[in-house]
Symmetry: D2
Subunit: 362 residues, 4 copies
């Protein structure tokens, strides 16, 4: 019962990695928004396996179908259901994991929770599930683009393993990110990251890293204290993405080593508007956007699927060993960039609608 | 519309720092749980201002009253309302902030969102709001103690500014935490932290740090993928606490610099049970608890209220300066320890009830 | 876990008939709405026991206190908590029902559900719980009055037992209803109803009846198909009021005996607007308001508490007899009129905010 | 944003009458429940158009596909998505209603709410939407059959226009209902109803009626006061079904003409259990089931689509006339019987899981 996200812009995903398909139902999308299959497909293609030499070589076309909620190119205000069929199933790739729990995967915990699991390719715990999120994110972006004409949501790879890119966060544009297959806007670091990922793949190993996301052009006033604070909802959204281990907004954990006098963001008048002189707050204060750039970082662990032989146990509680076969991402971050953007867009869209509901009355 | 947390164990808080009082309504508490005012008061006293020389010297007794939902010492299954009256109001302390936005507080964002704010002492954005959370956490702990007789939820201060305590996470007990007023279980670090906090107070400045929380004795199977993952809900819970900037579970951001072969937690049989040999996962895999210790870290920024003179603007958009007066915490972490525990307990309790709902059927 | 109503205008009530008090937390109220304690008290006084000779003679002042969410006479956008203390408790009146289940009350079902109950005066199942609803309804009415300047929500007693008032629904005004203590706008019927109620009280018996509610001046477009249809939410709201047994909107059960050609409401242009020539739909079509008068009827059973001796069983499963003592309403309808209005206002307010959220975008 | 029903057993439907298809996502279904496509199809076939000579002669096979959530015949605990493709589209049948508002349909209100509508065949307001409900109801019935082995949910046509069947509610079985195409268990009335429906069809007219539903074998204790009372949720569920105008439980509106001494249901010991001697309560007291038979009645209006020429207006606000063409149900009740059962099952299943969550703790 945890497959819906959002209060007003409500996203419900469904589907296992194997079976009829993966999809999403979006309830609460305002009517009369232009949206095309191509716009959704564009985002799905950024997430798609096999898109470059550093991602998994599984061939999944992930072509989407809009089942409902759109008529003559415009949203109806009714639920938008989007379906992507599953293909390229090779159940034989998975026969071993029918009985063995893959370390640091969700095989064991799904078994512990449900007493049953679809062991084909990870089932519901597969990152394939994020197709629904990315499709919903494409719709959220369209809505936001109407509400905030200057809005930019730009995520990028900021770090892979020990390689930390030098990035001026405030000037990165979406096109800078798409310039290379690792989705790191700094060219030198990007090259080193690509080499490392290819190297790690050859080792049969994997690496993690950090995705940073910056949001520009959002209004002040989004976020619903005290629990549905904008940063709290972003944190939940990000930690719900597979393989994430941490979230920090603005100064983040760096703030823990600062004094208040260094950390506080003084207010000033700039361009006729109330602005902060610095932005350690990361664009959110008291759980509400203050109109400055929102930025946050998401930590991803190395992919759990590795070719190395690992100790594990079987469902019948016997010690055994396991080595992954098949085609996997040695590093999920390049493909996770559109997922981070999608979840950020979903959170913002939900909060934008919530703010509309209470605005301009008194 | 963001003042309720939880799906089945639903916590709704209300109240500003000034006005009639602060409180909470807990809906969904199972019936026939023994709970006393003293148990709730015990947790509130750990959060209370003025409890030690390193916290604010404001005198707030924060005495709670159970208004409903408990009869003859037992819960009725009906909503439990708990009220703490506001006292010690000194509106004159706040007259300046009626017109000036305090840097890195929520004054400006509340104004931007609502077009109105209770400027007395921070209003709804005051940390005083967490009284309701702590009271609800006390109830959650009681329920959890029935469901999981071995359960321990222990939070403690792990770092203040640059002072990092050396703590063996797996052996810290609640009583170790309460041994000193800074709530750091390592004595040497605790002393240094106390000195620093006192020093910083004299400077009129503030510091942040890290609270770590460890949960032992929880069953495998809690967490509701794909959005209401246990770690995602913990992340949201923690980021909804005032002054927090980051959350990491298990290996956290450290995972970003590891290879999969180092990071994966091999399964093994131990004590007749399926266990992991290491615990980089932090007790959660695929968003579901695996029965190992759950541990996570929460980063707090330095208190925004400082005595230093700061640049800011007025509500009428004029540049001005502001220096805090009155009695404030130079470091919120010691008092935030019970808040972190409370929010963790609320998340676990909610997920425990959710798991009960679907269990043992098929 | 069923004590919250509404999606955006969220009303959570708490409290038993005995104990600290009864109250409500309203989350999602827009900011800057003027609201005074007097406005809330006015509605509570219409619901109050002892207000006239035909209601129960229990003396309950039911004075409310606004604990939070209002500052200087205006809503803050934060949760509005309202508390009414319990008084006039005579636990000795209830000692018998500690062990005996009152027929057609909730004593037995609460015991079956929760395994515990507050037997003093009905506990949570007491109609005293509706205090929270009426207080929230007063706030909802204020919001609605800003959104729809012509709005009128008028409920009245249309039938008591066999006495059916002759009422021209479309011209009844609030003041017509308050003209007599039975709250029936037709004077002749009202007198007969009062006589009947007094007679029934002397018999130690009780009667039921029908409350009709008419809503004028609401916009077209409220209601959220397919489940949160306006009529569906009104039905739930009404059936959640104690002692209700039925709900019908527009033509209601009368429609079951009509042909489509008689029942359909032809559209026509009238006063430059699209209107229906007839209004069998009751102002709602496809679950969405069409701008016509909304009207519905709510059936109330006779009060379960009667002075007659009745057969029943004890909690320890022995046959016994029971006759109510104390002061009770022989007919709940006059006091239920403001409750029906309050629940209608809450439903409309919630849907008005929901519609605001999606409006004016495409 | 109103397309989800239920708190723990959450049903989200999607789809317009024309477009890719109609479907449902069920979140919160417990794992390891056996469910087959055939079981779902069986219920869909009872709802299907063209199933008998008294229903619409549109040929819709309505074959379902389970897209997710079921593996090797058992539920996984993950979302169950079920899709029925749209076929037999004849957009030319609908060209006229692209511009003309059909009286007592939702054409005008959808336009007023959303500013756009899929005018092909009613779009989202088409009763075709109920396919998703019926599919979800089939799953709910399976879960309930495990929880309550004696459970029976039997709905039937009790009245068509002026023809009222004489039915002993307590002995009607499912097979009695399916014995004739009108789904009325009393043979003589059923024949008269069939004649009337055929006659009305020839007239180009339509009729309404009453569906009664009886639930046997449910435990005491289901229902969540004060808002999510079992009868309140049933009322909402029923009023959310297209063409419904009223709901009454137990004695219903009949109660309004009774005295308390007649209406109260005395408790007695019977068969070693606490029972009520009569059942005016309809199996629900204080919003909670008492273990007796639950029964309620739902009033349906005559189908709005009739062949008679009717006055109406166009979207551009001009007076015009309209007569339905094409193939329609002259009476929706026979096909609505499985829909009423499905919604009843969904409500009961949701409340059963909610009760499991809080049970057996204290």
């Amino acid at each position: 019962m945890g497959n819906t996200f959002g209060q007003l812009f409500r996203v419900t995903t469904f589907g296992e990695s194997h079976g009829g398909g993966i999809g999403v139902v979006i309830d609460g999308c305002p009517p009369k928004i232009s949206i095309s299959k191509a716009e959704i497909q564009h985002e799905l293609d950024r997430r798609r396996p096999g898109q470059s030499k550093i991602t998994t070589q599984r061939k999944e076309e992930d072509e989407c179908e809009i089942l409902s909620g759109v008529f003559a190119g415009k949203t109806l205000g009714t639920p938008i259901a989007i379906l992507v069929r599953n293909k390229d199933a090779r159940p034989e790739d998975y026969s071993e994991i029918a009985t063995k729990f893959r370390p640091s995967h969700a095989d064991y915990t799904y078994e512990a929770k449900y007493g049953i699991r679809n062991w084909q390719g990870g089932g519901r715990a597969s990152a394939r599930e994020t197709i629904g999120r990315v499709a919903a994110g494409a719709v959220a972006k369209k809505i936001l683009s109407i509400l905030y004409s200057e809005l930019e949501i730009v995520a990028y790879v900021a770090q892979i393993h020990e390689i930390v890119a030098k990035i001026n966060r405030s000037i990165v544009k979406a096109k800078d990110v798409e310039r290379n297959i690792v989705r790191c806007p700094e060219g030198v670091a990007a090259k080193r990251m690509m080499s490392l990922i290819e190297h790690v793949r050859e080792e049969g190993n994997s690496v993690g890293g950090v995705i940073e996301c910056v949001i520009r052009g959002i209004a002040a006033g989004l976020g619903e204290p005290v629990f549905d604070k904008l940063d709290a909802d972003l944190a939940k959204a990000m930690l719900s993405i597979p393989a994430t281990k941490g979230f920090e907004i603005g100064s983040g954990f760096g703030a823990t080593r600062m004094r208040g006098s260094e950390h506080n963001d003084p207010f000033e008048m700039r361009g006729g508007k109330i602005r902060t002189a610095t932005n350690n707050s990361g664009g959110v204060q008291g759980g509400i956007s203050n109109g400055e750039e929102i930025y946050f970082r998401v930590g991803f662990k190395p992919t759990a699927t590795i070719a190395h032989e690992q100790k594990t146990v079987t469902a019948s509680q016997e010690q055994t060993k396991l080595a992954a076969r098949g085609r996997h991402d040695p590093c999920v971050l390049p493909r996770a960039v559109p997922i981070v953007e999608a979840m950020a867009a979903i959170v913002l869209c939900d909060h934008a609608l919530r703010q509309k509901a209470i605005g301009l009355l008194g």
